[in-house]
């Protein structure tokens, strides 16, 4: 395991984070340490073990596919950094 600064930069980009060189170097080293510890999992033969993604034992409940109003638009927009009373406003995309 050897996480390079470039690899950390690639991951940061995927995660929508912008980190300076010093921080990338710091995180690369720490990620290396942490992922190195996670290599302990390779000691175990898990080929015939089914993954467990959730401890929930009950079956997934379904609800009727019905449209209904849960809240007011003004409530949803109240925390928006920018809105026009109807929609969220974001910087131009194209």
């Amino acid at each position: 395991m050897n996480i390079s600064k470039d690899e950390a930069a690639k991951v940061a980009k995927l995660a929508r984070l912008r980190l300076d060189d010093d921080k990338l170097a710091l995180f690369a080293g720490q990620m290396d340490d942490i992922l190195g510890h996670m290599a302990v999992l390779n000691e175990l033969d898990t080929e015939n073990v089914d993954p467990l993604y959730s401890p929930v034992a009950h079956s997934t409940p379904y609800r009727k596919d019905e449209a209904f109003k849960t809240t007011e638009r003004s409530d949803v927009l109240a925390n928006a950094p920018e809105d026009d009373g109807q929609f969220f406003i974001v910087p131009r995309i194209v």
């Binding site: 990620m31 510890h37 996670m38 999992l41 401890p55 609800r63 950094p81």
Partner: protein, 489 residues
């Protein structure tokens, strides 16, 4: 502490029911206690005394109704749980100005039971941490020693209860975030079975691991709060449809531990556990034996893989959950961004702290093409083996016991430079989150060297909260009384 704030929740509730005190009086007393202690411990992020008094006065004016089992009892809520019209920041700058327009399920329940919501407790940012040092706004101090951390991530909740600011607090536990701070601060912390308490209105960190639970002074208090907040909620599909119990009334039947088989996993007592922790926990187990419990040695062979398994899965889930913080609908937005991707990147970079960024990056890495099978799927497979360890152990015993933490509360800044060492400190708490089981931290005295509180962890099978609380209730009576925290006047 005053006569009133040193009472347990059930004691003050009895006084309220008997009309010996009013909701306004209990609330005023807590407000006074907060004023006296908050400058030292910084347990709260948001606190509005007038609002709390208004709630109390309204309760007194309306009078107590039969269903209001927590009538007039002031509580504190971890800042990851939405309370209508109160800031919910998750101790993060990215949510600094977020004010929910709805109550979480647990808050609806508490309000309908007549509780007074005093304020929001400090925490590690987005519940990521073991010391409450990762909060963007303040470092909470341990009421037993102000140089030490209260634990994390529900450190504000634990410190608030220990300091007598409130009669109970809600915390959340993804990998030990209720039990470890409870242990460090000398209070009871209960992490219920995954699905026993609705997560509706909880800001998600690791969705398959997170669970809301109480921090209190006694197991009986924990039973009272759990009775109020447990139950089915169709808005959380992972919430169990099974009926919850009246945990409180069941405690009255518990008088001894006869017939209770306590399993002691050999892996929980090995190298790295401080002697004072080992000694205090062993004394508690000896007391349990005197109360009639049968002590059964058991083995949990996959314990050494729990930290790696947990962090792969928790960080993967965190990277996905925290993708929603993009500056579009709520939270911080960089005002200078000129285009959309730039806005995402600069808002997230400014809004998140380092621990959150580190976990998001690790989560993104283990989920990325080429590494998904090696890390994420592998960890999910090991998760099943860890769960199987518990199922096997519970064939031989009813409750597992061991230390909550290998050591007592450490000093502020002592572990911040080495995140891996911080992660390793969670070794005894996080495996039961992987298995979805309930766990409780019971104060068993002060360390002979550190003079800091030590917690015994009690773990039960899924949905065994009743027997877990009953056993803790009986054992607690044989444990040293936790007096006023020595770090506060």
């Amino acid at each position: 502490m005053s006569d009133l704030t040193s009472l347990t929740l059930t004691q003050v509730r009895d006084k309220l029911a008997a009309k010996d005190v009013s909701a306004t009086e209990t609330t005023t007393t807590c407000i006074d206690r907060i004023a006296a202690t908050e400058p030292s411990i910084k347990a709260l992020l948001h606190y509005d005394p007038q609002n709390a008094l208004d709630q109390a006065k309204a309760l007194d004016a309306a009078g107590r109704k039969p269903e209001q089992t927590l009538f007039g009892v002031p509580l504190v809520i971890k800042d990851a749980i939405c309370v209508k019209d109160a800031p919910t920041t998750c101790a993060s700058k990215i949510l600094e100005r977020f004010v929910p327009f709805y109550d979480a399920f647990v808050i609806e329940r508490l309000k309908s039971r007549g509780a007074v919501i005093l304020g929001k407790a400090n925490m590690d940012e987005f519940a990521m941490g073991s010391s409450t040092e990762n909060s963007a706004f303040a470092v909470t101090r341990n009421p037993w020693d102000l140089e030490r951390v209260p634990g994390g991530s529900s450190g504000g909740s634990a410190a608030s209860v220990a300091a007598g600011q409130c009669f109970a607090a809600l915390g959340t536990d993804t990998g030990g975030s209720i039990r470890q701070p409870a242990s460090f601060c000398g209070v009871v912390g209960l992490k219920p079975t995954y699905g026993r308490v609705s997560r509706y209105g909880l800001v998600a960190y690791g969705s398959s691991l997170d669970q809301i639970g109480p921090l209190t002074r006694t197991p009986a208090d924990a039973a009272a709060v759990l009775t109020a907040i447990a139950g089915h909620d169709p808005r959380d599909s992972t919430c169990s449809p099974s009926e919850s119990s009246d945990y409180e009334s069941e405690l009255a039947k518990a008088t001894d531990l006869k017939g209770v088989r306590l399993g002691v996993p050999e892996e929980y007592w090995g190298e790295g556990v401080d002697d004072e922790v080992r000694s205090a926990c062993q004394s508690a187990i000896d007391s349990a034996a005197e109360l009639g419990a049968e002590i059964v040695p058991v083995s949990m062979p996959h314990t050494k893989y729990a930290v790696a398994t947990y962090y792969v899965l928790a960080m993967a889930e965190a990277s996905s959950n925290l993708a929603r913080f993009d500056g579009v609908r709520y939270g911080y937005r960089d005002p200078n961004a000129e285009e959309l991707i730039d806005m995402y990147e600069t808002s997230r970079t400014t809004g998140f702290g380092d621990e959150v960024k580190r976990r998001i990056m690790l989560g993104t890495y283990v989920l990325s093409a080429g590494y998904y099978d090696a890390y994420y799927r592998k960890a999910a497979r090991v998760r099943r083996l860890i769960r199987q360890d518990y199922l096997d152990a519970f064939e031989r015993c009813d409750i597992l016991v061991g230390p909550v933490s290998p050591f007592t509360a450490f000093k502020v800044d002592e572990k911040t430079a080495d995140p891996l060492q911080m992660y390793l400190s969670d070794i005894f708490t996080l495996s039961l989150n992987l298995a979805g089981l309930p766990g409780l931290s019971l104060p068993v005295g002060l360390g002979s060297v550190s003079s800091m509180p030590i917690g015994l962890q009690m773990i039960g099978p899924a949905f065994s909260e009743s027997s877990l609380l009953c056993s803790a209730h009986v054992l607690a009576k044989a444990m040293p009384t936790m007096t006023n925290p020595s770090g506060l006047v």
